[in-house]
Symmetry: C2
Subunit: 253 residues, 2 copies
């Protein structure tokens, strides 16, 4: 359970890597009104078609975006970690075009739409940092299109495992030799556009060949290099080192 003062810590830290903020910007973020809520795993945070009353910030736990076809097949679109706003779309667009669900039990802070809109109107740097964030989200979506469109199930799985590892590591949530995979095989299938049965077989094969070794959902990776190669993983698209482009790099040291 995060204390009240820590609610926006991760978000502020993330935004500062996008755009240098001044004290007033930081304060505006910390001054945002919010309502903390705990959401059980698998419960919906946002539903397609809804106009959510505010923007939801993940404080603790993981969430994912998802869309269901008319035939009933679910496709997971992205996974989000603490510090991420999961439905800015809801405050800036007319309605949500997809669903957001809690992946694990989540603690979220709901910020009223008016407060988000006011923040954006008054603090240009914060708005800019948020914009950069949506650009990076877009970049990750593009890579996922490649993953489901052009990689074999095996290769796509390795790519996904690399992405999670890298993002969890950047957020300080993983060990060096592996990590607790927070998804069921069915959810992995929905992220990769394959069936859960096939997920199982792919993981089994990767395990047999020594690319990973599993204990329950903990995935140990003997050679990141080998996994990276199998997935054709290049982390550039995550833009983990993103800093504002019109500031000299030296000024940020």
């Amino acid at each position: 359970m995060a204390s009240v003062s820590q609610i926006f810590d991760r978000t502020v830290r993330k935004f500062e890597t996008r755009e240098p903020l001044d004290a007033a910007d930081r304060q505006a973020l910390y001054d945002l009104p919010f309502d903390v809520r705990t959401i059980d795993a698998n419960r919906y945070i946002v539903r397609e078609g809804d106009r959510p009353p505010g923007a939801t910030l993940i404080v603790d736990g993981l969430a994912f975006r998802q869309k269901v076809t008319v035939e009933g097949a679910r496709q997971i679109l992205s996974v989000h970690i603490p510090g991420d706003f999961v439905d800015l779309e809801g405050s800036l667009l007319r309605f949500a075009d997809h669903n957001v669900q809690a992946l694990t039990r989540c603690e979220v802070a709901i910020v009223p739409r008016e407060a988000i809109v006011a923040l954006i109107r008054s603090r240009a740097k914060v708005a800019h940092a948020m914009w950069i964030d949506t650009l990076i989200d877009g970049s990750i979506y593009r890579e996922w299109i490649v993953n489901v469109g052009r990689r074999s199930a095996r290769s796509a799985m390795c790519h996904l495992l690399c992405e999670f590892a890298r993002r969890l590591e950047a957020a300080g949530l993983s060990k060096a030799d592996g990590y607790e995979l927070p998804m069921s095989q069915e959810q992995l299938g929905d992220a990769l556009g394959i069936t859960p049965v096939h997920v199982n077989r792919v993981l089994r094969d990767l395990d047999r060949e020594g690319l990973i070794s599993r204990e329950k959902r903990f995935v140990r990776v003997p050679s990141w290099e080998a996994l990276r190669k199998c997935g054709g993983f290049n982390e550039n698209y995550l833009h983990l080192d993103q800093v504002a482009v019109d500031q000299p790099l030296a000024a940020r040291a």
Copy 2:
């Protein structure tokens, strides 16, 4: 060949549907310095890893984003029409994480990065409109993930045909009963994550069953309703009616 004064017309019009601009905002857009260039079909506009010298605006013709896996398979990520900036990423992020290619012969206007950055810093409403635009791009990427991940080739093709139709129509570039499909079957395959041979068979079957009828690349659609149903197409994700959310709708009439 668009005349100089028309270069930014489509962009201004599009942005105004995102956020009400005032005269100074419009003027700032029209005052942007630019360099017009003609680019042959298939030539690269932006290359992955590059830091482009400016943002590229499509004035005439079509372009597409694309990424190539280590195995050499190409995945098309999006298609862009006149009025779209195709590489804002290049001005706001550190480097391009994907390629942009001309789909048809294109006329583009290249706006120096410094001018784009200055525009964003000085005209908050323009920046906001651009941000909304990247949110909508994100929404389209999400739908494409669903398309390649969870729809059959047949259904994905119908969906893509509906999307093009709707976007071309919204931009005033198509007839009611069909349109000139601007892509080769190989490119369609790269957009759907399937082989060109399979594209051919899917199109043949759709034609035989009367869902479409083809003359060269012109696609006639006897029943949009039927095509829509086959693709599970719901245009919400295009956010074609997007207007600023903190403005009363009546104020825009």
